[in-house]
C-alpha cells in the first residue's frame, strides 16, 4: 500500500513563530487531507488538498502531486495551535483502496507562550 511520511516528528515553537510541516507520499493520490488533533483526541479538518494551494486564515497548504509531497504552513503560531498534525492520503481509483485514507505518523507541535 501507499506509504506516508511526515516531518518533523516534533516541533517546538515560541508564540508568533512560523512553521512548515511536510508530508511525502509514495504513490499517486486523488485525496489528501490535513488534520489537527486536539488534546481531547478530536480530529479537525484543516484542508482537503489533493493538488494546488489553499489558505484559511493563518494556515495554508500546498500539494505538488507530481512530486508527491504536501506542505502545511502555520504563520504567527498561537498556543491553541498545539497538538498533532496529521496528513492522510487516498490512493487513485482502480485499486482496492477506493475512498480509504492512509495516515502519516503525525507531527507533534508545541507552541509556548
Amino acid at each position: 500500500g501507499i506509504q506516508v511520511e511526515q516531518s518533523p516528528p516534533d516541533l517546538i515553537l515560541q508564540e508568533g513563530a512560523n512553521s512548515t510541516l511536510r508530508c511525502n507520499f509514495s504513490d499517486s493520490v486523488n485525496n489528501l487531507q490535513w488534520f489537527h488533533q486536539n488534546p481531547w483526541g478530536q480530529l479537525i479538518n484543516l484542508f482537503y488538498i489533493p493538488s494546488g494551494t489553499k489558505q484559511n486564515g493563518r494556515l495554508s497548504a500546498t500539494t505538488v502531486a507530481t512530486e508527491r509531497y504536501s506542505l502545511l504552513y502555520i504563520s504567527s503560531s498561537q498556543t491553541t495551535d498545539s497538538g498533532v498534525y496529521f496528513c492522510a492520503v487516498g490512493e487513485r481509483a482502480g485499486g482496492t483502496s477506493y475512498g480509504k485514507l492512509t495516515f502519516g505518523q503525525g507531527t507533534i507541535l508545541t507552541v509556548h507562550p
Binding site: G1, L43, G99, L101
Partner: protein, 115 residues
C-alpha cells in the same frame, strides 16, 4: 463540517464483556469508516462501508465487527473485550465523491480501556 456523533466518549470495562461503540451521522453520507488509534500513534483503518448492507475490513486486522443497516448508523461491536483492545476508536464519514475524491469528517472518538 459534518455532524457525526460517537457514544460513549469514554468506556472502562472488564475483560470478557461485550461492547458496542455507537456512531451516527446526520449528513446522509454514504461512506463511513472506523479507525483505531493508539496513544501518540497514527490512525489505522479497521472497517469501512460504502452504503447500507455494505461492510469491508480495513488495513489493520481487528476482532471487532460492524453493521450498516441504516445509512446514518455504523456501530462497532466487540464480542469479548480484552486488554489488547484498549485504544481510541474514531468514526468518520464522507459524502462519496467520484473515485474517492471526498473529504472525510471525524467524530469525537471513543476512548476504550479494558481492564
Amino acid at each position: 463540517e459534518a455532524d457525526i456523533y460517537q457514544t460513549p466518549r469514554y468506556l472502562v470495562i472488564g475483560t470478557g464483556k461485550k461492547i458496542t461503540l455507537e456512531c451516527s451521522q446526520t449528513m446522509g453520507h454514504d461512506k463511513m469508516y472506523w479507525y483505531q488509534q493508539d496513544p501518540g500513534m497514527e490512525l489505522h483503518l479497521i472497517h469501512y462501508s460504502y452504503g447500507v448492507n455494505s461492510t469491508e475490513k480495513g488495513d489493520l486486522s481487528s476482532e471487532s465487527t460492524v453493521s450498516r443497516i441504516r445509512t446514518e448508523h455504523f456501530p462497532l461491536t466487540l464480542e469479548s473485550a480484552r486488554p489488547s483492545h484498549t485504544s481510541q476508536y474514531l468514526c468518520a464519514s464522507s459524502a462519496g465523491g467520484q473515485y474517492g475524491t471526498d473529504t472525510q469528517y471525524f467524530g469525537p472518538g471513543t476512548r476504550l480501556t479494558v481492564l
